[in-house]
């Protein structure tokens, strides 16, 4: 099958009325979830997972991708209007977005963010579609030892790219790997650490773990707060004049602002986003801050940043949305998620019988095309829905925490039970929820923990296979393997050196 045939097959998977309708629904749901601080796309997609059980594979995955697309933009709505980023990917949008609101120009900033987000998503997806002919042979270079090393690198890189301390991130990564050994090992039919519980024979139910870490733990955290996360003073001010109908000439002006007056800002941020997306677990949370920082450092008249400079909004929003398709590349290629949201999407893929990895990427290229096409269509819908809804979604950011907590907990428990009608899975959900709450509270990396659970079996299986091919030197007997070993060593050594340097330079 040629790549063109694969592309056509991928298009065929997505261009069905049901799938298109689900993409539209997903974008709307994503915007609402993203605009609600405390929810965001990660818990939102985790909550949607059990509901997709009744859908066909590509209907379900398209819905999840669309929630991701909508959620990434939705975070900017509350960031601009209320100074509360709905998602970690929208933190930098508060820096210059909120000052627009204080000046009574919230709608302008939100429209810019919609256009930057949607066009960023579409362009990044199209670039990846074009890059598939390069990606396929590149990924074919990765054999079993390389695959094991990439998975290890996925865990060791976390302290470098997130705000967690090295020890805490590695602790949670290795603990996740350890818990992933529960159940049947890759090379044997023996039950490991199941304590005779049949429901554990396939290991810990991944969706229960995801819901526990990303939804139950978050709800326990948020249940402590009084009222809504937004402040009333800003919403009063910003609600004025935001619901007026926008003229076509205004919309044209927004496009001109981004693509004619600030094209370099947009392209630079998009490229940063795509590179960050390839790094395991980084995602929009890193790319939006990094793109904003780079833009601020390299822009002319940078002193206006932080006071309502539109370049700040463009940089942040195009960067967080640009990571959406690129974060799925390592997931499709190696089974290693490029962002926490991609980790939850992996749960959806596994639920629907897709096991991402080199085999899937090389043998079923049409699935990669279908993924990027689905995201691009999601970006297109976002443009229409986002411009129409512009500021209406802000009301979700004003939702009181006490209203939010019970339905999410009920959906988590019911959804987990619905997966396999197992009370053990619900118990896992509850225990991991409490455990996750403590992890969040004391800044232990939840992402590292989830990655550990995902990558544990990948590392074990490929390590065992590698040792069947040769001794330990097999990991350093080819240039690519040496490069990966150096990257792993670097990712472990650099944070330690930085720590020691910071300690002694105090």
């Amino acid at each position: 099958m040629t790549l063109l045939d694969s592309f056509i097959e991928g298009v065929g998977l997505i261009l069905t009325p049901t799938t298109l309708l689900l993409i539209a629904v997903g974008v709307v749901a994503g915007i609402i979830l993203g605009a609600t601080p405390g929810i965001g796309p990660v818990p939102g997609i985790a909550l949607a997972l059990p509901l997709t059980l009744g859908l066909q594979t590509w209907e379900a995955l398209s819905l999840l991708f669309a929630i991701y697309v909508g959620g990434m933009y939705g975070g900017a709505v509350s960031a601009i209007l209320l100074n509360v980023p709905g998602t970690a990917g929208a933190i930098a949008s508060t820096f210059d977005g909120y000052p627009f609101s204080l000046r009574g120009e919230a709608k302008y900033a939100i429209q810019i963010s919609v256009i930057a987000s949607s066009v960023g998503t579409i362009l990044a997806s199209l670039l990846l579609i074009v890059s598939v002919p390069i990606l396929v042979p590149t990924i074919a270079l990765f054999g079993t030892p390389e695959y094991a090393l990439v998975a290890i690198f996925g865990l060791t890189i976390i302290p470098l790219i997130t705000q967690y301390s090295m020890g805490k991130a590695l602790l949670m990564g290795s603990f996740g790997v350890l818990l992933s050994t529960i159940g049947m090992p890759p090379s044997s039919a023996t039950q490991r650490y199941t304590m005779g519980i049949i429901d554990l024979s396939d290991g810990l139910e991944f969706v229960a773990v995801l819901l526990g870490i990303f939804a139950i733990a978050e709800m326990i955290k948020l249940s402590g707060y009084e009222g809504a996360l937004s402040d009333s003073q800003s919403e009063k001010k910003n609600s004025e004049g935001t619901n007026k109908i926008t003229a076509l000439s205004d919309l044209i002006d927004r496009f001109v602002t981004i693509f004619i007056r600030n094209p370099i800002t947009f392209i630079k941020s998009l490229l940063i986003a795509m590179i960050i997306g390839f790094i395991p677990a980084a995602g929009g949370a890193v790319s939006n801050i990094l793109a904003y920082g780079v833009e601020k450092a390299t822009a002319k008249k940078s002193e206006s940043f932080g006071t309502g400079d539109i370049r700040g909004v463009i940089a942040s929003e195009s960067a967080n949305s640009g990571t959406i398709p690129s974060a799925l590349v390592p997931l499709l290629a190696f089974g290693i998620p490029g962002s926490p949201t991609a980790a939850v999407i992996l749960g959806g893929m596994l639920m629907h019988g897709l096991n991402p990895g080199p085999g899937l990427f090389e043998d079923s290229v049409h699935l990669s095309y279908a993924t990027f096409i689905s995201i691009a269509i999601g970006g297109l819908f976002l443009l229409v829905i986002g411009l129409y809804s512009a500021t209406k979604m802000a009301s979700f950011a004003r939702m009181e925490m006490t209203t939010l907590v019970p339905p999410v907990i009920i959906l988590c428990v019911t959804g987990t039970y619905a997966l396999s009608l197992s009370f053990v899975d619900v118990a896992i959900l509850v225990v991991i929820g409490f455990f996750g709450y403590l992890m969040i509270k004391y800044n232990y990396s939840t992402v590292a923990f989830i990655l550990g659970i995902i990558l544990g079996p990948v590392i074990e299986e490929n390590m065992l296979r590698s040792f069947q091919l040769g001794d330990v030197t097999i990991f350093v007997d080819a240039p690519l393997r040496i490069l990966l070993v150096v990257l792993i060593a670097g990712s472990l050594v650099v944070p330690v050196m930085l720590s020691v340097y910071n300690y002694y330079s105090k």
Partner: protein, 197 residues
Amino acid sequence: MNTEETILLGTVAGVSALMIITANQYDPGIALFPRIAASLTVFFAIAIVVGNRSEVFGNSEIDIIAQVNKKTELDEQTHSTDPENGENKPKIGKADPGEFRINKPVTKYQIPYTNFVVTHRATVSAMIVVYFALLWLSGVFVSSIAFLLLYAKVIGLRRNIFISLLIFTVCSLFVFGFWLETPLFRPGHDLARGLGI
């Protein structure tokens, strides 16, 4: 180190130690990988405890966000006073250990007939445990409604919000029941088997 953090680290290290010990009952081939993972986990747990004392590694701030955007700028911006009405903006800056980024008052709940005051987090955690027990006893439907009622009573939900949430919950349960064919009334025990539910 805080008591809760000690519990977290103790649980992680304890589970790992237990898994190292019980790995003996498996073939060396399949026991090796969990042993390595467990040993690394124990090693990192010890490193964190020792690091916290020596203040070198335990609290290291390897923060790419801080490198590209100085924390002081963020704090100045988020803590600045609104010139129009003099009120403070919400805090979004980096959290202190054990605290979250949200600068909102933490709500508390007094246990009836006692003088004990607990946070809402502890209350909700206890309610989740009760929810799970009810789930096992009476199935998804009854336990979910009971959880919502308990939550509304303890937290003090307004009437209109409670009714909206009740409608949402019942609709969601029907979606699971009718569309995904989830048994809504099946308990986790066998006591009601003779009743045919």
